[in-house]
Amino acid sequence: MTELLFWPALIAYGEAAFAFLGETRRPGLGSRFGIWGIRVGWLVQTALLAAQAARAGGFPWQSWGGSLNLFVWLVVAVYLGWGCSPRFRLLGLGVAPLAAVLLGLAGATGGLDVHGPSHYSSVFLVLHVGLVLAAFAGFTVAAGLAGLYLWQERRLKRHDAAILSRPAPSLVALEALVARTILIALPLLTVGLGIGIARLRDQSARTDAVMIVAIVTWALYAGYLVARFELGWRGRRSAYLALAGFALVILVRLALPVAHFS
């Protein structure tokens, strides 16, 4: 059943990735196909996750591949929140290939398997894994927006004559959206990490490297919000800071199987 749903979702994301690539050559048609590919892919993936949850009778995404599967779904969900608006469709150029590659990776690394009951409670897994992944999904989209900001800013600075030929969000809108996305994602990370740390203390377990990097990530994004809202940091500096935070998110994701699940 999961196989039957996995491939259509992957194909739909793949189609969206190619459609958005076409958008760079001829604006208009590509993004329309792309957005539909992402919508269909996300709906099929929702069914896939529901089927997994039903079969496991709990939270089946505690493995690295499983959490990657859930992560992709969350990233696309955040994107679909406002990415369908024509001005933001270009962001799909980053989201669609990322979704296709990561979902493929999730499938190849056992993300579709349904394991037996975990020694963690479902409530803990939902709150810890679910919230941390939701926050990471928010940071991923914020990084995409920051990248789009830097690209758009560069075009304006360099007086790109073709700048008006492609609809794109304004610098002010992009900058505000990056800040707003991080403002929503950071509390999720705070609660998710807090629950993980509380359980760690409860079990008298040792802190691992992933936890340290996750806390540094939290501190960096908290610093971003302080700099943005209190010190008036705007423009390129704040975009680079959002991208630096995302680099740490990638590090945490990559280090998870070797330093957290072992």
Binding site: L156, I163, L171, G235
Partner: protein, 421 residues
């Protein structure tokens, strides 16, 4: 059947010295159309780029002669001077031309929006009957369709409008964004008007002489300032438009650096329309400052016009389809009298038979009468539906007259009138 005739000239065929001689304001165009109609139909479309007369009359050649003579008379020139620059189009070609005009495909700047309003005004001021009414309504529909289904009208086509569009790339919605205009000349005013048209607030006008600044500021409800106050105004501005005749720089990088510190990194979009330049080019290197000069903006306009031309190819496809639809409609007019006669004949038979049946059936209740009425009407409609559709289709395929004659002959339509006369 009436023929559609177009006689006129435009920027493609005539220089401005000739066009201005036959240009009319809306009232003049309306009066000329009423005079030319003379019981028929006429519309005069006159803009700075074209003067065109559209006539619908039974005799196309005669209508064409009248229109040409009217334009020659209007120009006050010898026929030999004006006639060579006039184009004369008939029926399908005339309709296609008007559709292209309404779509902005015949304009200097492809897809420009003003022409659609001018076509509408000319239509309303003219003397349109059934043919020109249908033609102009369809032209307005084509104009709107082309602008909504293609991107032909989306990009700016002038330096001031490109500046305003770029400001939107920085700020998005310009509502509430404050503009500082430096200089009080026509170019500065044009740029300010474009920004204001997109929702920005013209907050200050600064000029070397305060009196000129005040004159322009009053037109926008802005505050006037001298050039010495520039730095203090810049702190609160979002957009700066500069176009003075100063021989040197009005603002340099060091000044903007100081200002940006006070603005806490808020973006500032600067437009330098002056030659020699007013604003230090090094300002563009500052974080949050985006400086465009005339050449940068001109390059953007050239690029967007190229985009408009690409879209024009798609728009031509839409216009051609609509012109074909108009032609079909016009052809269907040939069979309309035959269809009307056939339906009248059928209705006459139905009413007669109904009266005879009533006499035989005796007194019917209202309900019974309604049922019989509806029944007979339905039979007639169903019988005539297919022949009506087929005749219209045949008309579109140019066989309409043959079919109409056949129907008249088969059903004996018009024979009674001929016998009576």
């Amino acid at each position: 059947m009436s023929a559609l005739v177009l006689v006129g000239t435009s920027h493609h065929a005539a220089p401005i010295e000739l066009r201005e001689k036959i240009a009319l304001d809306l009232a003049g165009a309306g009066a000329l159309a009423q005079r030319l109609a003379d019981g028929g139909e006429a519309v005069c479309l006159s803009t700075c780029n074209r003067t065109e007369l559209y006539l619908a009359a039974p005799n196309g050649d005669e209508a064409q002669r009248r229109a040409s003579a009217a334009l020659v008379e209007l120009a006050g020139l010898d026929e030999a001077e004006l006639v060579p620059v006039l184009y004369r189009l008939r029926d399908e070609a005339a309709a296609l031309h008007l559709f292209r005009v309404a779509a902005g495909l015949d304009s200097l700047v492809p897809g420009e929006g003003e022409i659609l309003g001018q076509v509408k005004d000319a239509f309303e001021a003219g003397a349109a009957g059934s043919l020109l009414d249908h033609l102009f309504r369809q032209a307005l529909h084509v104009g709107k369709k082309v602008r909504t289904q293609t991107a032909i009208a989306e990009s700016p086509a002038s330096v001031p409008s490109a500046a305003a569009a770029l400001a939107q790339h920085v700020f998005g919605d310009l509502a509430g964004r404050r503009v500082l205009v430096v200089g009080a000349g026509d170019m500065a005013e044009s740029a300010a008007r474009n920004l204001s048209g997109r929702g920005a607030t013209i907050a200050w006008v600064a000029n070397r002489t305060l009196e000129r600044a005040q004159a322009l500021a009053e037109r926008f409800g802005a505050a006037a300032a001298t050039l010495d106050e520039l730095e203090s105004r810049l702190v609160d501005a979002d957009v700066v438009v500069s176009c003075t005749s100063a021989p040197g720089l009005v603002l340099d990088r060091a000044q903007l650096e100081r200002v940006q510190r006070s603005r806490r990194g808020a973006p500032l979009f600067l437009v330098d329309l002056a030659v020699p330049r007013d604003l230090d080019p090094a300002i563009n290197d500052l974080e949050g400052c985006y400086l465009y000069n005339v050449d940068d903006l001109q390059a953007v306009v050239v690029q967007t016009l190229a985009g408009r031309r690409q879209e024009a190819a798609r728009a031509e496809g839409i216009v051609t389809v609509e012109a074909d639809a108009f032609l079909d409609w016009q052809a269907s007019l040939e069979v309309v009298p035959a269809i009307a006669s056939l339906r009248a004949h059928a209705e006459e038979i139905r009413q007669g038979e109904l009266a005879r049946a009533e006499a035989r059936l005796g007194r019917l209740s209202d309900e019974q009468r309604n049922v019989v009425e509806a029944l007979t009407a339905q039979i007639v409609n169903k019988l005539l539906h297919l022949p009506t559709v087929r005749m219209k289709q045949a008309a579109a395929a140019a066989d309409g007259v043959v079919y109409a004659d056949a129907v008249r002959h088969l059903f004996g339509l018009g024979e009674e009138e001929q016998q009576q006369s």
